[in-house]
């Protein structure tokens, strides 16, 4: 069980409606790394991420080809349960992730599928809710929570499975500044490999030392987040823009800590 946390090779994929999203993707993420996945809308970021635990792609019966390894385990049909336990996916819209009647039911869904029952299951649920600071809201229905709270519960639903790799799709979108900061505190406190899709470039710089830049269904750049964000030509070519007045060279990043 050795090897990089994520290894992707020559990945190609088209949706059933004929739209091709991935045109050959290659990259590797080592264990314990925090990597941001940047790119304009429609670059194929979400599609790529959905491949990492075998939800899309040839392993799920879709139209595509290529090779994926998670922690040294090849992504094949017979390994799907193992892979899905190792890779925790937090979806962009927390309403997609929270589908059970209450917060408690929802966080328990994953570990219950792993076979946990009774007190062990309850402990696991409580632990995950404490990690995101939502232990007092366990009996509420998702639609009674604020957006920021739902996002945190969505993270908890995945943490309850104790994943090795945490993959987040635009975790800071639609959050107010305080919720955004609370989430970054939660994420920096976790001891997992992190892959994070984001349009929030300061967030990428704050949390991730390394970034992948994706456009047109391919990885077009791979390097230190600070270097990528500082490369004006590269940024312009792929429709990425820094917030007004933000200078990536003058703010502290994760490498400084």
């Amino acid at each position: 069980m050795s090897g990089p946390a994520i290894h992707v090779e020559r990945l190609v994929f088209a949706y059933p409606d004929g739209r091709q999203a991935l045109y050959g993707v290659d990259f590797t993420v080592e264990r314990g790394e925090r990597v941001a996945l940047l790119g304009p809308n429609g670059a194929g970021k979400t599609t790529l991420v959905l491949h990492l635990n075998g939800i899309l792609g040839s392993v799920a019966g879709g139209s595509g080809s290529g090779r994926i390894e998670i922690g040294g385990t090849g992504l094949h049909r017979e390994h799907l349960p193992v892979i899905r336990r190792k890779v925790g996916l937090v979806f962009q819209d927390p309403d997609d992730q929270l589908f059970m009647p209450t917060v408690r039911d929802d966080v328990a869904f994953g570990p219950a599928n792993l076979g946990l029952r009774g007190a062990e299951l309850e402990d696991r649920v409580r632990e995950a809710l404490v990690q995101v600071g939502m232990q007092d809201h366990a009996d509420l229905a998702p639609h009674h929570l604020s957006y920021g709270q739902r996002r945190r519960v969505a993270v908890a639903t995945v943490l309850a499975m104790r994943p090795e790799v945490l993959v987040l799709d635009e975790p800071s979108s639609n959050l107010d500044p305080a919720s955004r900061r609370e989430l970054s505190d939660i994420l920096t406190g976790l001891d997992v490999t992190l892959l994070m899709i984001t349009h929030d470039l300061p967030y990428a710089l704050q949390l991730c030392e390394r970034s992948l830049l994706m456009d047109g269904g391919r990885i077009v750049a791979d390097g230190r987040t600070r270097d990528l964000l500082g490369d004006a030509e590269l940024m312009n070519a792929h429709r990425l823009e820094l917030p007004y007045g933000f200078d990536p060279l003058s703010v502290p990043g994760p490498e400084g800590r």
Binding site: R85, V87, L89, D95, D96, F99, M100, N113, T157, M161
Partner: protein, 252 residues
Amino acid sequence: MSGDGLLVPVDSKVHRIPAQVKIVALFVFVLAVVSTPAAHFWAFALYAVLLAAAIVVAKLPLPVVSRRLAVETPFIVFALLLPFVATGPTFDVLGVQLSQSGVLGAWNVLAKGTLGVIAAILLSATTGPRELLAGLERLRLPSTLVAILSFMVRYLNVVSDDLHRMRIARESRGYVGGRAGHLKAVAGGVGALFVRSFERGERVHLAMQSRGYNGRMPLLGEVGATRAQWIEGLTISLVAVTVAVAARVVGL
């Protein structure tokens, strides 16, 4: 429409009865009402008293109950037409010929329909959606159906909100064209709503799969109802059944 249904969130004896008991009780009660011959007016008065008592015990505000009665409207219209269209002997009221069986039939539909709706309001106002689902699960409803029900209840709000937002967006831009344009705009919105709902359904399934979903949903209701709870919950229904049987016997 809220995903909470008609729930009135107060704490009462009725609220605390397990949902499966309430569902069975409601069903038995309504069945007793429905099988009571229409001409036994006293029996219906007793049913009404029983329901009123239950509403008081459940601490339900009257406006909540009366507002929901509006769902009956189309059938009230139908019932009021019955005296004019039914066959059989007639009698004269202010020069209008009314059918005897029609008048009785109108009463029959109105009385039973109203009692049925009030009984259903009693269930939905004292039972949260999650408890209701757990109750249905305890009553051995197929698990796939419970799962579909549970997703529907969960996403009622989300889909309704989508619909609401789309309507606001449409109305804030103003309608274009005449009636056909209006229809096209509304229907286009609804078409888009289906695509959104469907795609969300796909994403939810992906989210479930990525957390190890293997075709079986975890159980919602772990504990069953005790014998005492069954007896307590079924009291009113058993009284109603007694009334119905008595009505039959007296009717003979």
